[in-house]
């Protein structure tokens, strides 16, 4: 259950990150330059796909009845975390999910 | 927000608050009862669905009281409630009259 839960959390945060970076003002905030229109579209598409993946992961953790409820909670909290990190540590806001991957991997291997 | 925009006149504000809270409640009560009677469902289902929707109606009624163009219009919910109350309680009325 923890594997799916952590997976859903990481995917939720990544989806919020992608959607956020698809907005010009926030892309500039992190990278210092304006994104091209193509890049923005790719980021937004990625964001929506990660969103759906996150929902699927939540359903693996809780089943399809409780899954959507947990998913919305994870999305909200991820979004808030992102909004809070961006002005203080924009690069950390973008890169910490990579550090989250080993934790997820450990959970997966321990099959919890 | 400019100073004139509703900050200084006490009576219209009181009026809207009452229209929203009390008038809105009366309207919601009547509409819920009417809905309970009108829904083509079993008694239990009709009660649950009408009650489920009632708080949305009440919220909108309160918003209406403040969005309405004048404090008088805010009270429109009360006369609107009358026919709804009739629909909601016609069996009880018939009993009384019979």
């Amino acid at each position: 259950m923890m594997t799916a839960f952590l997976g859903s959390l990481l995917l939720a945060y990544s989806s919020m990150l992608a959607l956020c970076q698809g907005l010009e003002r926030h892309y500039k905030q992190v990278w210092g330059r304006a994104p091209t229109l193509g890049l923005r579209r790719v980021l937004r598409l990625a964001g929506w796909l990660l969103l759906i993946a996150s929902l699927w992961a939540s359903a693996q953790a809780w089943g399809w009845a409780m899954g959507p409820v947990g998913w919305l909670g994870l999305l909200s909290l991820s979004g808030l975390l992102l909004a809070w990190l961006l002005p203080y540590t924009p690069r950390l806001a973008v890169y910490w999910p990579l550090a989250g991957l080993p934790v997820w991997g450990a959970a997966y291997l321990l099959a919890i | 927000m400019s100073k004139a925009a509703g900050t200084t006149q006490a009576w219209p504000i009181c009026s809207r608050v009452l229209a929203g809270l009390l008038g809105g409640y009366v309207f919601t009560y009547a509409l819920t009862a009417a809905l309970a009677q009108l829904l083509p469902l079993d008694r239990v289902d009709a009660l649950l669905i009408a009650s489920l929707l009632s708080f949305t109606v009440y919220t909108l009624a309160i918003l209406w009281a403040f969005a309405a163009r004048s404090a008088w219009r805010a009270w429109a919910v009360v006369p609107a409630a009358a026919p709804l109350a009739l629909i909601g309680f016609w069996p009880h009325l018939l009993e009384r009259l019979a």
Partner: protein, 509 residues
């Protein structure tokens, strides 16, 4: 007077939000704590240990004890140990008002456990403000309506809903408070709307009995019988003593059908009309299954009723209740609700603070009455936001500091809670604003950070089991957060140029 929709909704949001904000903060904070009510109960009863014992064994001990001490009781209630509540508790007589005893699940012997208000106090305060039942419920309902109005009016006036979805600009004074308020409100909007609406639905038939009055002439009992298959009371034949049937097979049957059990209720034990109700743990599904249990004949062991099948509309209603009660989904879901609840409380707090920050510069130009009113608002902000936190953590301190043998101990804990809160109101009124905030938040931080030490000194041992450890770790984490906020308050306040301030005020949202 002519106003645009935005102007009228902004007025409504501001003043409705202010008037009900303090109450709503208290409701949301205690509601968040109530998510872990049983865990807090457990922490506040250090005499109870976590053990693992099978239901059958626990019931055997319980029945043996009840047979010895309360053989003639009209009913026996057995609260079984569960993951969240490791206590084995028996009650003779009515479940709420009968004689209760805690038993050691391993030996079956009675335990002396301190009388405490427990985490259940936060739950009761949350829906009734600790007032005698109905007035409190009505006030909470009114506050919930105010919350709905504030949410919808807030959405209407927030023009840059999507543009500023992730926007947070710290260290900019008023702008930052507005950003924090907007971000926490928008990003948690599904939670806010869901928790408020489902909260109202729980007491819907008290708040809005229109459909009940219209369809059932207000007869709730008739409605209850129609929507849940209630077992009819058997006709009153003269009863005679009869041995109680073996419970272990019934336990197994009930567990197979309903999942983990929370308790057993035996009506008329030892008589021929005995009934056994197996109560299930809430949370196997979202729908709140409170009261939907299996009932067996106490002498023959035959299944008499339940668990009831729910028709779609009743199921929908129960799902709504369940979404609010948050008993489902295990600990991960429970933590999500807890964090979201705390953040919602913070959202309300940012709104209250924003109100004062926006107007602070103009206090000097207000009338004397105006100035006193603003002073009142500032004090109430401190007393409600910081003071309530002090009172809540204070309740846990009182639990360990009050003598165990004190009569009516639970009542004294509650009195202490309100005394602390009242003192914080007085303190906030008497002290200058910034000092009041710093001092109360510091006290809250110290009480939170000191909780593990309190535990050690009052019990002679550290936390005791994993559940209490988790609680203390969480409290310490919250204490660190409070300490950080005190540190922030000691930093130089942000200064603005007049032009920037006017520009910020022009943007209502």
């Amino acid at each position: 007077m002519k106003q645009t929709l935005t102007q009228s909704m902004a007025w409504l949001h501001t003043w409705g939000g202010l008037l009900f904000g303090w109450l709503l903060f208290a409701i949301f904070l205690t509601g968040s704590l109530a998510v872990f009510d049983q865990e807090i109960d457990h922490w506040m009863q250090p005499e109870i240990q976590q053990t693992s014992v099978s239901n059958a064994q626990a019931v055997e001990h319980a029945v043996a004890y009840l047979q010895r001490q309360h053989a003639d009781a009209s009913a026996w209630n057995i609260s079984l140990p569960s993951e969240r509540m490791p206590a084995l508790r028996v009650t003779a007589g009515d479940r709420r008002s009968g004689i209760s005893t805690y038993l050691d699940p391993l030996t079956g012997e009675p335990l002396v456990v301190r009388d405490t208000a427990g985490g259940t106090f936060f739950f009761r305060f949350h829906y009734s403000l600790s007032m005698p039942r109905n007035p409190g419920i009505w006030i909470v309902g009114l506050a919930a309506m105010a919350m709905l109005v504030a949410l919808i009016s807030g959405i209407i006036i927030h023009k840059k809903f999507f543009k500023e979805f992730f926007t947070f600009r710290p260290n900019k004074g008023q702008r930052s408070w507005l950003d924090a308020h907007n971000a926490s409100a928008v990003l948690l909007l599904p939670f806010h709307l869901m928790i408020t609406y489902t909260g109202l639905l729980i007491f819907a038939l008290i708040y809005m009995p229109a459909a009940l009055d219209s369809l059932y002439k207000g007869d709730f009992a008739a409605f209850y019988r129609e929507h849940i298959d209630v077992m009819e009371e058997p006709h009153q034949a003269p009863t005679h003593p009869a041995p109680l049937t073996a419970l272990a097979p019934l336990l197994a049957q009930a567990e197979a059908r309903m999942g983990p059990l929370s308790g057993v209720v035996i009506e008329h034990p030892g008589r021929s009309d005995a009934h056994i109700e197996m109560r299930r743990v809430l949370g196997n599904r979202i729908a709140l299954t409170k009261g939907h249990n299996m009932v067996f004949d106490g002498v023959t062991g035959e299944l008499l009723a339940g668990p009831p099948e729910l028709r779609p509309s009743v199921l929908a209603q129960r799902v709504m209740f369940g979404l609010h009660f948050a008993q489902f989904g295990g600990y991960p879901m429970r933590w999500l609700y807890f964090v979201c609840g705390l953040l919602s409380s913070a959202m309300i707090a940012t709104g209250l603070v924003l109100f004062t920050v926006k107007r602070r510069r103009k206090y000097a130009s207000e009338s004397p009455l105006g100035q006193q009113l603003y002073r009142l608002v500032e004090s109430l902000n401190v007393a409600t936001i910081a003071g309530l936190v002090v009172a809540c953590i204070g309740l846990l301190w009182l639990n360990r500091l009050l003598p165990v043998e004190l009569a009516q101990r639970a009542g004294w804990e509650v009195r202490g809670f309100f005394a602390l809160w009242l003192l914080s109101v007085l303190h906030a009124w008497l002290r200058p604003r910034l000092q009041a905030w710093r001092e109360q938040l510091s006290l809250a931080a110290v009480l939170c950070l000191g909780l593990p030490l309190l535990s050690v000194f009052s019990d002679g041992q550290a936390w005791g089991d994993s559940m209490r450890l988790w609680l203390e770790v969480t409290v310490v984490a919250l204490g660190l957060l409070l300490a950080w906020s005190v540190w922030r308050l000691h930093q130089p306040q942000v200064q603005h140029s007049e032009r920037r301030v006017r520009h910020a005020q022009a943007q209502v949202n």
